[in-house]
Symmetry: D2
Subunit: 431 residues, 4 copies
Amino acid sequence: MPNLAREPQERLAADRFHELFVRFQAVRATSEAICAPLAIEDFVVQSMPDVSPPKWHLAHVSWFFEAFILQPYLRGYQPLDPRYDHLFNSYYQTHGTPFPRANRGLLSRPTVSQVYSYRQHVDLAIGDLLAHPPAEYAEEIARRVELGLQHEQQHQELLLMDIKHILAQNPLLPAYRSDLRPAPLQAAGMTRWQRYPSGLRQIGHGGDGFAFDCETPRHRQFLEDFRLASRPVTNGEYLAFIEDKGYERSDLWLADGWTLSRQAGWQAPLYWQRVDGAWCEMTLGGLRPLDHEAPVCHVSFFEADAFASWAGARLPSEAEWEVAAQGMPVRGNFLETDHLQPVAAAPLGEGPEQLFGDVWEWTASAYRPYPGFRPLPGSLGEYNGKFMSGQMVLRGGCCATPQSHVRASYRNFFYPGMRWQFAGLRLAREA
Amino acid sequence: MPNLAREPQERLAADRFHELFVRFQAVRATSEAICAPLAIEDFVVQSMPDVSPPKWHLAHVSWFFEAFILQPYLRGYQPLDPRYDHLFNSYYQTHGTPFPRANRGLLSRPTVSQVYSYRQHVDLAIGDLLAHPPAEYAEEIARRVELGLQHEQQHQELLLMDIKHILAQNPLLPAYRSDLRPAPLQAAGMTRWQRYPSGLRQIGHGGDGFAFDCETPRHRQFLEDFRLASRPVTNGEYLAFIEDKGYERSDLWLADGWTLSRQAGWQAPLYWQRVDGAWCEMTLGGLRPLDHEAPVCHVSFFEADAFASWAGARLPSEAEWEVAAQGMPVRGNFLETDHLQPVAAAPLGEGPEQLFGDVWEWTASAYRPYPGFRPLPGSLGEYNGKFMSGQMVLRGGCCATPQSHVRASYRNFFYPGMRWQFAGLRLAREA
Amino acid sequence: MPNLAREPQERLAADRFHELFVRFQAVRATSEAICAPLAIEDFVVQSMPDVSPPKWHLAHVSWFFEAFILQPYLRGYQPLDPRYDHLFNSYYQTHGTPFPRANRGLLSRPTVSQVYSYRQHVDLAIGDLLAHPPAEYAEEIARRVELGLQHEQQHQELLLMDIKHILAQNPLLPAYRSDLRPAPLQAAGMTRWQRYPSGLRQIGHGGDGFAFDCETPRHRQFLEDFRLASRPVTNGEYLAFIEDKGYERSDLWLADGWTLSRQAGWQAPLYWQRVDGAWCEMTLGGLRPLDHEAPVCHVSFFEADAFASWAGARLPSEAEWEVAAQGMPVRGNFLETDHLQPVAAAPLGEGPEQLFGDVWEWTASAYRPYPGFRPLPGSLGEYNGKFMSGQMVLRGGCCATPQSHVRASYRNFFYPGMRWQFAGLRLAREA
Amino acid sequence: MPNLAREPQERLAADRFHELFVRFQAVRATSEAICAPLAIEDFVVQSMPDVSPPKWHLAHVSWFFEAFILQPYLRGYQPLDPRYDHLFNSYYQTHGTPFPRANRGLLSRPTVSQVYSYRQHVDLAIGDLLAHPPAEYAEEIARRVELGLQHEQQHQELLLMDIKHILAQNPLLPAYRSDLRPAPLQAAGMTRWQRYPSGLRQIGHGGDGFAFDCETPRHRQFLEDFRLASRPVTNGEYLAFIEDKGYERSDLWLADGWTLSRQAGWQAPLYWQRVDGAWCEMTLGGLRPLDHEAPVCHVSFFEADAFASWAGARLPSEAEWEVAAQGMPVRGNFLETDHLQPVAAAPLGEGPEQLFGDVWEWTASAYRPYPGFRPLPGSLGEYNGKFMSGQMVLRGGCCATPQSHVRASYRNFFYPGMRWQFAGLRLAREA
């Protein structure tokens, strides 16, 4: 419904907010599509404190829009239920008291159907707001909607990680979906070692598009010569490490990793199990024979580091990884590819393969602020900055990441002992 | 379809098994009626290790019939899913490996609908078996079906306890039902003290009807003179204990109770909370103002014992309780009354009131075997005997107990720190 | 220095207090004799929360005299260090705040030498008080000194239990003493079964001598016919249980015992270890080959109960045990015998053997108050009564108990999972 | 006893080994001097798993010489007790199985006196070896003796940290020494901000003297412009943070720090306590009024980081710190100064003050390997490399560090939640 009376600039703004709303609808629809195959019961379970019940994710991402956009900027906004502001606050201490994370699985209510109503309530209100954004806040609203969409994309990956973990606890080993796109039958090629010369490099986000605060500022780092493997480590290679007693050799491990590995009884990546003497792997498509050619996945930083030691190599620093990825197209096995599992890639050309997609790659770098880092102002400053201790950086996205969500400067982070994310590794070496 | 060729005795047996099946159907229907008000999501949650998800209860009681009756006695019986034998085994170590109790809330599958199919599968098979019970096992089958029904009745009470606990964790404080029968508006009378003379008494089950192994054998105990309060302690009386700083006075408490109470931060019975300065209570009908006249409920043995010390009295032994209850009619506020909450009872006559129903009454007796106790043979011997350490006996049934399930010799038992069962107390004194 | 002016009754009282002081000195000297073989370092260690460092024991028993006798009754008494009233209060909540039990091993000060000075300070003051007891409190003082001595005797046994536990944690396996009296080389006889007829019996303390409050009042219990084994179970018999996979058969165990045993990895009694394929036992005399003829020791109630199930028998109730022990002389292998380890006894006559000494015998009875039980008034009421939940009664004393400390009515108590006390078992049966 | 027949080079070597042995004796004597004021009881206690009993330290540093020098290089070496190789192995998994760290406080034996004999045994053997070092291993022996001495110096600081922690647990608050050098009565000057220009810098050890493997290789890092505070943060400044509710404001804290701080109930640095409304501090000289001018000490990384946020500043990176310290003399308040507590320093000149000594300064840098890092070969490779996860770097030494032990490139490391080391902070800012 074009308003001919509007000035051109105003119309430009209206177009921009219309586009934003179209993208909003698309991202919101993807979250629901991810949950479509679930039974109602699957939405409720929290299989460990790090996992959230799927219905909690669906509600929380809506709460994000409500708490940070609708409440401050939509005049007269009425929440569907004011108690949700407590229930679905994840960790924003400066925005009330979050419901205890470890207890999310105790909440049978609101029901899945009520959560969907909540989503609709928020969607309508966002639609209203974006149709008539108050001019003085329009920039900030656009910025926050963008952040809210990026946030929801992160939760799309989390949803898949958590659904996998929930179903894998069940001795019935139910498949999330039986119609996933099958893996191609191809062999991973030999690893080649790409050389990168020493020099002063720029890393961090510098362009126009969206980036999280933690990716900034763009800054200089000096790198020595290094070499990077042309592809991630495969299941077959990791199996050789296992068979060479990699899990029993303390000299290969960081001390904290050794202690954790012994306590937890690790003998293989998460989701691997032996069935009648053969290695199988629980996937979102159910239990499958291990694909030796696919990138190894669901290993902790400690396992990645021990493997690298065993292989006489090391993990790349995040700066090394980013230098290698700069200028590469963001293509690969992502959420949209619909494998939802890393797969082997045929070697295509000269450059490194599979930097993007398939598996997040553990780096050697602790997740710490870049020089000159400034978190977002207000409660949104809690988004990234406060997690900058004890965690390691991973790069490149995975088979459950929406393709439009990732980029060369993207910094993901997990504690070094975590394994339920789709994480693998790529080796590096001194030149 | 009467078979005229049958011998009278055979017909008698057939009648008996027909009656048994009618009762089987009624008990099975009651479990499902209890769950009817639940949302599907409510069936999944395990709010603490002692609680089981409602759908687990529904499946487990069916497993009991399958494991102990259908598998051994119904020729050609095919289980719906052989893996259920592991998932729904509660604690029968001699019958395979039970699925870990604390992980029951991790199982989103089988879904509620699949659990109902499982129930139907078992119901049909039991129908077949009871229609044509193999003569040589008929006695044992009848005994085991009876045990299975008593077992399912226990789980009906557990279902209500667990549903209450699950919903009470939720800050939304959802009501299980809004159509419960309201409490009568009446005052609990003054406590009178009934005297009972010393002498050699018989306690334990001795008659024909069903009793659990732990109620036998009937045996003699010598009791000194004692007095028993005519009714349970009320909320109003318990409030006086709280207001007299009962929770802060270590001298009133058993040492283990004091430690636990401090660690857990107990200040009142479970489910009590202050709302705007007034005491309220979470019930199966939602949050309600505290009824001062109703029996106090959801107290641990430690609290019951501390209250008795404060009141200058003591808890009765289980033998004292049973002597008082012998010959009394089993009437009171039970599951069928549909309060699902203890209520005040008007004093009716001479005898002790509310021995049956309303609240389980903590006794001073540890749950230990009676002289000459013999557990049932085989796996069913695990039903009661192996729990005879560390727990205390409670007597009389409660507002969530099926009326036909309880009797004067019935021994219920819980650890002294547990509070989620409907447990209160009645005072006793030396004469 | 006889005072001729004194009245005869006064002189009688003086004699009585003089005698009491002589006994006081003897008991105090025994505690120090027990500690004489220790290195100073041994006095400091707390090997688990249940264990106290030896110097803490030495100080605490002195504190008992200070807190309950010197402070209230010795005019002008000056404590050596007022802060000891906090440090050496074990669990008397009504007498200030006890120093946290689990932290006793963090206290390097006061040093051993300072603790001995503290003992001397208390000894001198008690000497003063008993030389001139104020007439109006004389009775109460005498009663409390007696209680203090009984208390110190309990700690003498605790000292030996704790020293054994402390030294056994050390891979060097140091012996407490190398000059202990060696065990006689004799075989335990065959077990005979003594019969005891049913009837109304009296148990509990009824005479003039000292008894703890928990042994009273003497009261009637009806006992059915029963049989009691003529001697405790031996190491050799217990070995047969182990070799018959007693630790792997869940059907023999109480549920709590099974869980604990699996968690703790029990495969044998505490202090047993295999050395080059042969069973050895850590003792106060160091590591020794297992004596198959000696009573089994350092088993929990759960192990005792499981053994009894395996043997087709049961544990006696404490009333049964006491009836058997009534009238028997308190003779046996006690502290004074200087084995400090249970030893085989040659069968001597008709009656049951080794009821007293060698090992405390687990009974089937929970530690609960006798009918009509009244704890001591004031803080001393915390001595026994508040521990009457969750523990089991043991009877008869052991090789580390002072002979004069025990009697037929004596009730010892430990949690069913505890093993560091010198505890064994004797079997019982229905007649 | 000069051997005139020796070649000059040989004599040079002999001189060098003689010098090494003189230094060996001096370092060994220092450890014993540190322990001289202790009561025997103080040598035994382990006040938390991170702390070791002083006698364990004394033995472990001797074991280091035994395991890595005497066993491989002294022909015919007989250990005093072969079991010590297990007891005093700290964490060298590739050299047998270390005795569990958390259980070191359970070992009353060997006694202190036996530990001193062990030291003497090792000293004599090292004397033998250094008098006649086998030529083919002479270099490696010298290297390892040097490493052993540096190791023992680290334990000298650990001894003082642990002694302080042990004594501070005791409500008697005993002083370690009453003759410590008193703090000068002077005010810390105003903080000035030194500017450092951006550029490519070299950090890491590059010279001839001793350095740990983790300080190498020397390598280039690009640094942006930055400013560094001229002195550490003082107690007085930290008090302002406390009074401004720094411990209650979640927005100042890293998420892990906030969680830990709430759980542990932190309200002030470790060892601070309020006495009659005034802040005091437990020191090695006993409880003292807080010195507002002295550098704040015993704060965790999380507290340091929260303070810096509150102050609108940040912590320096380890590279920034090292650039500032390069070329500065290693002077300051060290072990030899005999304060054993940080003290205020009067501002002297232009440069930054107190970079060395007083307090270790938390940096913003995670403890990770330098580019091209290679751990030592063999078991000694476990010395540093395996701890490179989850810890943060501290720089500069403290009042308990031997002066000769530290240098500009020295990297100390602790987990971010640890507080018992002498750790404070210095602020940094973007230029």
